[in-house]
Symmetry: C2
Subunit: 125 residues, 2 copies
């Protein structure tokens, strides 16, 4: 692929916005390195670079909440990716469909969305 058009940052990363093509909602913002991008394209399963764990992160690998790649877009500056996905179940580990489940209202961040799964139940009895 034409990697030379992609401007990875000093850490070798590029921010990637996951966008669910069916709901037309923004799911999350995460980061890819060149390998994560290559794996995403080759497998069709969206794969990021985990900055906290410093390793490849196949989104939903343990939870089953995977993202199927639909299309991939690059911005004018070449320093951001927009990833069209089909989101399985939910993007957010705390149970919301989108990670952006809080909205700013009158000076506070209010939870406006409903949970689509119970994050406790996954690890519960």
């Amino acid at each position: 692929m034409h990697m030379e058009q992609i401007k990875f940052d000093d850490a070798g990363l590029i921010p990637a916005i996951a966008f669910d093509v069916e709901s037309r909602k923004v799911m999350m913002l995460a980061y890819m390195n060149a390998e994560a991008l290559q794996v995403t394209i080759e497998t069709g399963i969206v794969t990021y670079w985990s900055r906290s764990r410093q390793k490849l992160w196949v989104k939903g690998e343990s939870s089953g909440h995977t993202q199927q790649l639909q299309w991939l877009r690059l911005d004018c500056d070449g320093d951001a990716l927009l990833v069209g996905v089909r989101q399985n179940v939910a993007a957010c580990h705390v149970g919301y469909f989108s990670c952006f489940y809080r909205e700013y209202r009158d000076g506070e961040w209010l939870v406006t969305d409903e949970r689509v799964f119970d994050p406790e139940a996954k690890y519960g009895g």
Copy 2:
């Protein structure tokens, strides 16, 4: 506002995804510092921090291609903002409605969108 829930990075910035509420398209990814966020909320005109110019950047101030704030969302980790906007004319300085006008197809980044204005004409005769 509840700034303590927002995790700015080491440079004091947070990535902000601009999302056009009418077309439900992602427009661009840019960055805000605390001041840009405050100005955005106070004025209702989306304002970023320009990393290249190291100053506040009222999007569309010179071109007129402003973004009217509709709502503001914060992600689960508190380290990314989703900004609902009404995009005036176009987000991209090279003439496309969205900065993400290139799509990956068969190893290449193809321009798939139509220009909505001619960037040359702005500065032309």
